[in-house]
Amino acid sequence: MSIPAPAPQHRRQRYFFDNERVLGPLLLFPAVVYIIALVGFPLILAVLYAFSDVTVGDPRIRGTENFVGFENFRDVFNDGVFRKALRNTIVFTLVSQVFVIVFANVLALVLSADFHGKRLVRFLVLLPWTTPIALGVLGWFWMLDSVYSPIDYIMRRMGLLGPDSMFGPGRNMYWLGKTDLAQAAVVVVHIWRTLPLATVILLAGLSSIPQDVKDAANVDGAGFWRQLFYIRLPLLLPIMAVATLFSLVFTFTDLTVSLVLTRGGPVNDTQVLSTWAYFKGIQGGNLAQGAAIALFLLPVLIAIAIGMLRLARRSEND
């Protein structure tokens, strides 16, 4: 038997990247750098800040004398505005998500049917998702303007607003100036913002239900409602959970809507954790307390992340 000749040099070079031990780390490298620099580092910094006494004017941690234990968390929690912001964050998120789930299901069902102009309608439904958040919210800000609101104009023309009308003698609703209206406005904008994504996810889920299964339900004698509640919705549940978790994260951590639309007003009534952390930490200069407020989001986000991972694992096992 002869010993095989070693492959020529250029061939070995050509297959260099076929080696998984080379290619794998190489492909992972950019993602790892990205996560460490833009997620890991700020997170660690936030935790450090939350236990320290740094301010915007003096953000350096020199030694143990800068650490103050849980003092920031105590101060933050004793602040009435913080508790309001915490409650608002939870209420806004839950209320908007309930509406999103219902509307997204209805929309997905409608859009999965065959009709003329379906593509155009799908495009229009998806549009809010493609607009930058800040611009979209600015649009709403103008629509809800205290003097020039087109909604008010339409209501006036319909006789719903103005002297001797249903919504009172004033010429304007002052959408963003009254507590309940402002809170409702924030919720509506959240719904408007997250509905498209949830709808598209559910639409994908609907089209993944095999035609045979729908046919079988038809032959088995199930009418529309029975098919909806016994076949389609149960089969959609896993994907609905994915859509909900996504929307929850987006809504829960959102800064833009409250910041642009109401700046937390009137009198902090639409303040949420992220805006309060921003006002406290950046605008107010108390970096340490801002970090502490922001960290209140963490446990919820961890819980959601675990939920997502579990779902992913379960669908892998099926």
Partner: protein, 350 residues
């Protein structure tokens, strides 16, 4: 139980650009096992789906139990269907799957349970009632699908290639079970397949469909022995019928119709002789297939394994076919002609 009939039923797609089913007339006998057989894309599944109400015919009528059902939704047709994929509801257990049609019909709980147990008993799946479909094997899923179809006591069973997802071994036994099951239940059954073995083995009658039309309808024996045209002649039988051109005719005969010269010589008035040039032999145990050339045409002979036929390439042998086994087709249209042995004999040149 019921008779299913289609009258001039047609299905077009894309505004008439594609005709999938063309003017098909089929009428079952009550309690019959009718097989729709054809290559893929021939329109057999579309025909079945129209009978089931899952597709609307472009024109023509569908009758079940003497009633026109064109306008009725599937659930109003008293039919049950088994799909190629079985289409079990993945989120329900076996019990839930079988009971679903009963729930949809608002049958009371006790009766539901009784009927589910009955159907599960017939199909031998009583021990699987609490399992989810993904925990079942292909054969078990198929039985659950059958139980779900059975439980409604439908007038007609529509089966769309229900065995094609099973492995070969399991398929043979499932074929037997399915046939016995249909025999016991006695419900009119329409069964779609592209597998001629299934069709021959199971059907009371077979409708051979090609290009959206029925080429022939008859018992397995009729179809095999007296094919109506060259498509049917070559689609059924493996290997297919040999076709030898003679003038404007095609002479057809089955590979197994070849035989060696009998002991007492050959009576040329009752049989025809052919000179086969052997190309290759396939040994199958109890028999062998001899592939060769005959008057320039590729031809197959099915012989006993020990038959004295030269196996080597280029070997020549004279084989005989009884006149009674010869079928004559028009070369142009492919349609069957009345066989006339005399014509064959004079035209044979032997």
């Amino acid at each position: 139980m019921a008779i299913v009939e289609t009258r001039k039923i047609t299905k077009e797609f894309d505004g008439g650009a594609v005709k999938v089913v063309k003017d098909i007339d089929i009428k079952t006998v009550d309690g019959e096992f009718l097989v729709l057989l054809g290559p893929s894309g021939c329109g057999k599944t579309t025909l079945l789906r129209m009978i089931g109400g899952l597709e609307h015919p472009t024109s023509g009528q569908i009758l079940i139990a003497d009633q026109v059902v064109n306008h009725l939704p599937p659930r109003a047709r008293q039919i049950a269907m088994v799909f190629q994929s079985y289409a079990l509801y993945p989120h329900m257990n076996v019990k839930g799957n079988i009971a679903f049609p009963l729930k949809a019909a608002n049958i009371d709980k006790e009766e539901q349970k009784r009927r589910v147990d009955w159907a599960a008993g017939i199909l031998g799946i009583d021990h699987l009632l609490d399992r989810k479909p993904r925990q079942l094997s292909g054969g078990q899923r198929q039985r659950v699908a059958l139980a779900r179809a059975l439980v409604r006591e439908p007038n007609v069973f529509l089966l769309d290639e229900p065995l094609s997802n099973l492995d070969a071994q399991r398929r043979a036994s499932a074929r037997d079970e399915l046939q016995r099951f249909q025999h016991e239940i006695g419900t009119t059954t329409i069964y779609v397949t592209h597998d001629q073995v299934e069709a021959m083995g199971m059907g009371h009658r077979i409708a051979v469909i090609e290009g959206g039309t029925v080429r022939q309808i008859g018992t397995p024996r009729d179809i095999y022995e007296d094919p109506a045209d060259t498509f049917v002649a070559t689609f059924l039988g493996s290997p297919p019928m040999n076709l030898i051109p003679r003038g404007d005719e095609l002479i057809g005969f089955r590979p197994e119709n070849f035989h060696l010269a009998p002991d007492g010589g050959v009576d040329s008035s009752t049989s025809l002789s052919f000179k086969l040039t052997s190309i290759r032999e396939e040994y199958l145990g109890s028999e062998k297939l001899v592939y060769g050339e005959l008057e320039g045409e590729r031809t197959v002979a099915r012989m006993a394994a020990n038959a004295d036929v030269p196996a080597a390439e280029g070997g020549e042998v004279t084989l005989f076919v009884d006149n009674a086994d010869l079928r004559v087709f028009d070369r142009e249209s492919g349609l069957r002609k009345e066989s006339a042995p005399a014509t064959i004999a004079t035209g044979s040149g032997s």
